[in-house]
């Protein structure tokens, strides 16, 4: 397997090259521009067979993606923040049409104020649109997950769009050592795009997106509900098979020294890497610290999280975005909801941190574990690292 030095954006573009989608339609936006820019160079160099559409906005880009997917193509794109927001009108249509479009999303704070750095407010804002959402801890995971996302999204039982996210600048622009597949192996792994329905099938013409009122709209949303349920098992299966083939196994969650942990941090994305370093340090000092990394946010692995946290005394849920609902961030509110039926519940606290790219350091995570040990009751929502 080739070992390369790649930024997160380069890693995602490399995965896209190996996937060789039929159509990519995109619009530039910091910090995700590079993903599609590098890919467009692959197109120009004849390394892929893709039709590249340089659209006049993200709204147009995602619309063109839907058009291409309707015509039976394997379709990918990339965006970030305001770009994802501008795609918002189209995103639920993609899942409703059961189009397995894969989107490389680089997490960046939403305006306003205007900011180009990492938080999860953009991805969280589109969490209820029927898209699978996979977070990456580093460039390696981003590369691996983009490849897996194609298989997950295109699985017969799923047929839903998927977005794989990296953290803006922290992963997207930092260079790391990653292992990639040989081109042949990747091609074999991804396989041919099997088209279930296409408007271009003259033998069996179909209608997409027609008006659907009180009569059947509700029924037509149910397949998305069902597919999202099925997606959980498919993600686990794909992650396991990926491990068998390439040595890096993935699941819905990753438990890091959690089995006997008393105090746990639950987090998404790059912060998990920082937390692992602190867990090692605290373990050396005799504290039973652990980490629960949530890799997949949609479908939400509620039961699995409740199970994983059942033995810890107290856990801090880290949210890099706020819901402004006065009950904490997205990850926290959903985990708290998932814990309702659990027989054994740890004390839960919510730390909202790192908005607009505010640095979360090793020292910051140390403080969080320290405060966690003093936690007496559940339900605290703390905005951590904000100046007074």
């Amino acid at each position: 397997m080739p070992t390369l030095a790649k930024t997160g954006n380069e890693a995602m573009a490399e995965a896209m090259r190996q996937i060789n989608p039929d159509v990519v339609a995109a619009y530039p936006i910091t910090p995700a521009t590079e993903v599609v820019m590098i890919f467009s160079q692959f197109v120009a160099d004849g390394l892929v067979d893709t039709e590249y559409v340089a659209a006049e906005s993200e709204h147009s880009a995602m619309s063109a993606c839907v058009g291409a997917a309707s015509a039976g193509c394997r379709v990918m794109t990339g965006t970030s923040s305001q770009g994802l927001q501008l795609m918002s009108e189209i995103l639920p249509i993609v899942s409703a049409l059961r189009q397995p479009i894969v989107l490389c999303e680089v997490n960046r704070a939403l305006s306003g104020p205007i900011n180009i750095h990492c938080d999860h407010s953009d991805t969280m804002a589109v969490r209820d649109f029927g898209w699978i959402q996979i977070f990456s801890e580093n460039a390696q995971e981003a590369y691996d997950s983009v490849l897996q996302a194609v298989l997950i999204a295109e699985d017969e039982k799923v047929r839903l769009p998927a977005m794989v996210t990296t953290d803006g600048f922290i992963i997207s622009h930092c260079m790391e050592k990653i292992e990639t597949m040989e081109d042949d192996a990747a091609k074999k792994y991804i396989g041919e795009h099997k088209v279930k329905n296409s408007i271009l099938n003259l033998e069996k013409p179909i209608t997409l997106g027609s008006l659907d009122l009180q009569d059947y709209y509700f029924e037509h949303k149910m397949p998305v509900v069902e597919a999202m349920k099925q997606a959980k098992d498919v993600i686990v299966k794909v992650g396991k098979e990926f491990g068998q083939k390439f040595g890096r196994e993935y699941g819905l969650l990753e438990e890091y020294k959690l089995a006997d942990a008393e105090f746990a941090v639950v987090a998404l994305g790059s912060t998990c890497g920082t937390t692992k370093a602190v867990v090692d340090e605290l373990r050396n000092n005799g504290l039973k610290a652990g980490l629960l990394k949530v890799r997949v946010f949609r479908p939400f692995p509620g039961e699995e999280i409740a199970q994983a946290l059942s033995k810890v005394k107290a856990a801090v849920i880290l949210d890099r975005s706020d819901t402004y609902c006065n009950q904490g961030g997205q990850l926290y509110t959903e985990i708290r909801s998932a814990m309702y039926e659990a027989a054994k519940k740890p004390l839960l606290a919510n730390y909202i941190y790192g908005l607009g790219g505010r640095e979360i350091s090793l020292e910051g995570i140390r403080q969080i574990y320290k405060q966690l040990q003093e936690c007496q009751s559940s339900g605290q929502v703390i905005h951590f690292g904000v100046r007074e």
């Binding site: 936006i29 521009t33 820019m37 340089a54 501008l86 305006s111 205007i114």
Partner: protein, 289 residues
């Protein structure tokens, strides 16, 4: 004659600015300020709105009422401001990508309404901030990051576009012709209606480099060599016009301004709505029911 000090219009604490060495955006921004200065406008009665992109960062450096908005939507935010406070001078600073790609829809509709906005496009024919992708004003066959073999999409002539859409004052200039820009800014602000200034500016870092123009000075020289005033332009054959462009005041044809028409519509209706005895009777009856 020494140039007037215009630093009172700048938020100097926001400097240094983000623009690259050789970028023309500073020239455009300065020219806008010189126009405002000559008009002697009250700083507090001026609103500057910008979208997203290199050009749109200008709003942050200017000491007026400023609103830095989202990509492509500066004109819509500005429309809201003008409708709420028609007495303000509203200036929109935008780029070619911002106002004619992602915000192209708003451009034609603002022009159609002839709402009194003063639009200054920093037209560098490229998306500078994101690394040199082609924009709707990149000339045909030019090289861009997304057009390594030459741009396939025919460019917009933004002045023709806004003229067709209904703008009432339209002019084009370049950063080489900096003093001309200020004069057009003055006339744009004086025009009661939608004014559109297409200012050709240089991006040596992306556009210049990719299209093998050595540096910013060479780009300015190209502007000088390829620009033709209206008189010169009018006698050129189609063949001679190739690679050249016209600068100057291209359109000046006043017609009713939108916020004024809106106000007079309200006034007419208020007159009409003076309740007649009959309608009062009806209202009382319906309340009783």
């Amino acid at each position: 004659m020494a140039l007037r000090d215009i630093s009172k219009y700048l938020r100097l604490d926001k400097f240094p600015h983000i623009w690259c060495p050789g970028c023309g955006n500073g020239i455009v921004m300065q020219s806008v300020l010189r126009g405002i200065d000559k008009l002697g406008l009250d700083q507090n009665k001026v609103a500057v709105i910008s979208g997203i992109g290199c050009s749109s960062r200008a709003a942050g450096y200017l000491d007026f009422n400023t609103l830095h908005t989202t990509h492509g939507r500066a004109l819509t935010f500005a429309t809201g401001i003008k409708m709420a406070k028609p007495e303000l001078t509203v200036i929109v600073l935008t780029g070619d990508g911002d106002c004619s790609a992602i915000g192209g829809n708003h451009l034609i509709h603002a022009a159609r309404r002839n709402i009194d906005l003063n639009v200054v496009v920093f037209n560098n024919s490229i998306y500078g901030m994101t690394g040199g992708q082609f924009s709707p004003t990149t000339p045909l066959n030019d090289i861009a990051a997304t057009a390594p073999f030459g741009n396939l999409d025919p460019p917009f002539d933004l002045c023709e576009l806004t003229k067709a859409a209904g703008a009432t004052y339209i002019a084009r200039s370049t950063t080489y012709h900096a003093t001309q820009i200020s004069n057009f800014v003055i006339k744009a602000i004086q025009n009661k209606g939608f004014s559109f200034l297409d200012i050709i500016t240089q991006c040596p870092v992306y556009y210049g480099r990719m299209n093998k123009i050595k540096d910013a000075v060479d780009m300015l020289k190209e502007q000088r060599d390829n620009a033709r005033n209206i008189k010169q332009w009018s006698i050129l054959s189609d063949e001679e016009k190739q690679g050249k462009f016209v600068i100057g005041e291209l359109h000046n044809q006043p017609r009713p301004e939108y916020t004024e028409s809106y106000q007079s519509l309200i006034e007419r209706h208020i007159e009409k709505r003076q309740p007649s005895p009959k309608s009062e009777e009806r209202e009382t009856k319906s309340r009783e029911e």
